[in-house]
Symmetry: C2
């Protein structure tokens, strides 16, 4: 059984993770920034060292392609993720999947075998969406979900456009986005959630990616004196908001489904200790891997808000974002399970609660994801951590899945 | 039956209410400000016109005293309230009670009768507490509740001390606070709440003033990804806070007592749409006219918070303020009811939900309050309104109560 070079993989994860540190040691490589350029340069150098063809498209996605005269006409197997980061990031989110992809290709290349179709690794631009909106932008453009010109015109939090910034750092490529149409796409990623660690399971075979519904809700009641207004005469927007919070939470918690509901932001007006709130503004984040259930959650929320309206609370709802769930390719998910079993690793089917480039590429090719445990479920933090052995195990499962799909010939 | 001069009273309320308007017509006479000086000057002018002795104490409280050689040694009947305002105020809060007090004394003086003891009207300094803390400061100092030096050292929101500001506007008087010990104190005020208007009752005989318990509560849970953290693995501080809000509201609403509970402020951390709140900070305002019930409310809250702690939410409670309820003098309350009945006006006994100078003076003398309706329960706003006829009716009840207490001799 072949295996990835664990030292090389782990060394590269640490080396890339050392780039973009500020004076206090905080890691930040926002999309198309100077530090992103440094990370990209390092990655492209490794692609060239590995003898891969490097291609960069107009949205800055980087591809390392291993192809031969014999298979160059076929759709490649694509492994991908991203190497941009959030502010004060950990070293694994995205980078692990990209560097494991490179590792798998190098390992197979060194084996002396020939795949029936090209193998490629991709680092997609601006997955995090911190500097430019929306997130998962490079893979979205690759999948044809948004026009490349519109994406390049996105204005960053610091004023410049993505197009200007990509040109400035030398990563405004010439290839048309989508030039590489994958035969199958596989993404390896840290879970960013607590499930695998809690259950002591090393491999997640990700079969779905949750649909997301984001809404901003404004409730308007009547401000009044907290001391002189009897409870029966109040129209307390803060109390109404609290009822929505408990309704959503209790409903999701009581469900047997993996539905999650979160109210992450809340603002009261006038926000004074002795004034009944006239207004509450809060956000609702609903997620479910099943579109019918997600719609049912939205409908239940709408019905609850309607009840508040009948009670004299004015309700305003803004839709902020809505993505349908993604169902990954069943055959690839089975390959992941089989690979884990062969290596004696327990796996479980699961849902991705976070968004990933795989959900975009799933629009144009069969796709699936492999998860490894995240300590404490933590990500987007310097405390993000996965054990070395778990990282290597995940990369070997990726290797096995790609090996199976590549129909290697001796 | 004698009656106040309605035109004079209403005219003075409007005239005083015209002082302290900014370019946009907003009324603001913060304590010891230039506009407060203008209001004080106008009021003192009216006191002198009425032939009253004017006395000003070191905390700036203004007294207009009608006494004669025959009654000068006796403790006076005191009528009072305040003429400082909040920012963007209405014209009735405080001013109505002070000007009605002057009106009552002028009316009795003009009647040719002689009271058995002096009559006095007081305008207490800094009742609103907007510029200097605490509120109800002048009456608190008068009642000996806080040392005058400490009160004068209070630093305003704009940097100067109350002592400096009173000296600057010419209202740092020479009398020692408390020099005038009232025989009985009566305060006439707009309700600042909706009860009288809703019930169509013109006169409130205020028998109690609610106790107040203010607390700031901080709940600490664990921040986590809103998409990847199952409901069963959350320690959501925002959800815990919402449970406190609904618990307090529902408990107070279900009670037969006049208990009120308000959560007026709320802040979540990190306050991001897709992050489970790690922290919620909110205030609790509990009020009840009965001390035992108020303590029971506090205990119920503490028990609920203890339940949250058992569930893994860290709880921090800060006491911000605590005042025991005030029980006004039963005989004066009965006099108010009798006076209303004699004038054919419906009255009801009630609780004051707001704080008033009367609660401070009640420490040193029998006291009670008379309320008139506030349209919509609104105060501390330009929309504060009471009908002229209601204002005049309230002043006549005050006249009747003072007449009864004054043991007039012809």
């Amino acid at each position: 059984m072949i295996a990835v070079d664990a030292r090389r993989l782990l060394g590269r994860i640490r080396e890339l993770g050392a780039i973009g540190r500020d004076g206090e040691g905080r890691l930040t490589r926002l999309a198309a920034s100077d530090t992103d350029k440094q990370g990209r340069d390092l990655f492209v150098g490794w692609l060239r060292q590995a003898g891969l063809d490097v291609a960069i498209d107009r949205i800055g996605n980087i591809f390392g392609i291993w192809q031969s005269a014999g298979n160059a006409g076929k759709a490649p197997l694509l492994i991908g993720s991203h190497i941009d980061t959030v502010i004060d990031a950990g070293i694994y989110d995205g980078c692990y999947g990209v560097l494991a992809g490179l590792e798998v290709i190098e390992t197979l290349k060194a084996s002396g075998l020939s795949p029936s179709r090209p193998l490629a690794v991709a680092a997609f631009t601006n997955e995090e969406g911190v500097r430019f909106s929306p997130d998962m932008m490079g893979s979205l453009v690759h999948a044809g979900g948004v026009d490349v010109e519109a994406a390049l015109a996105a204005v960053g939090t610091d004023g410049g456009t993505l197009g200007q910034e990509l040109a400035r750092i030398g990563y405004a490529g010439e290839r048309e986005p989508g030039f590489l149409k994958p035969h199958i796409y596989v993404e390896l990623h840290i879970e960013q959630g607590p499930v695998l660690e809690r259950e002591g399971i090393p491999i997640g075979a990700v079969e779905t990616l949750q649909g997301i519904s984001w809404q901003r809700i404004t409730l308007d009641g009547v401000a009044n004196h907290a001391g002189t207004t009897p409870m029966s005469m109040r129209r307390d927007a803060g109390y109404a908001a609290a009822r929505v919070v408990t309704f959503l939470h209790d409903r999701a918690a009581a469900s047997n489904a993996p539905t999650v509901a979160t109210v992450g932001t809340m603002r009261l007006e006038p926000n004074a200790i002795n004034v009944i709130p006239s207004r509450a503004v809060f956000t609702v984040d609903l997620r479910d891997p099943d579109e019918q259930r997600l719609q049912a959650e939205e409908a239940a929320l709408a019905a609850f808000l309607q009840r508040l309206a009948v009670e004299g609370i004015a309700v305003t709802v803004e839709r902020l974002a809505r993505f349908e769930p993604v169902v990954f390719d069943g055959r690839v998910v089975e390959l992941i399970e089989t690979a884990a079993r062969k290596r004696g690793l327990v796996s479980r089917r699961m849902t991705s609660g976070a968004g990933h480039d795989a959900q975009m590429i799933a629009r144009i090719a069969p796709a699936a994801m492999i998860f490894v445990p995240s300590a404490g479920g933590i990500s987007h933090s310097p405390r993000e951590h996965t054990e070395d052995a778990e990282l290597v195990a995940g990369a070997n499962i990726l290797l096995d899945v790609i090996t199976e799909l590549a129909e290697l010939e001796g």
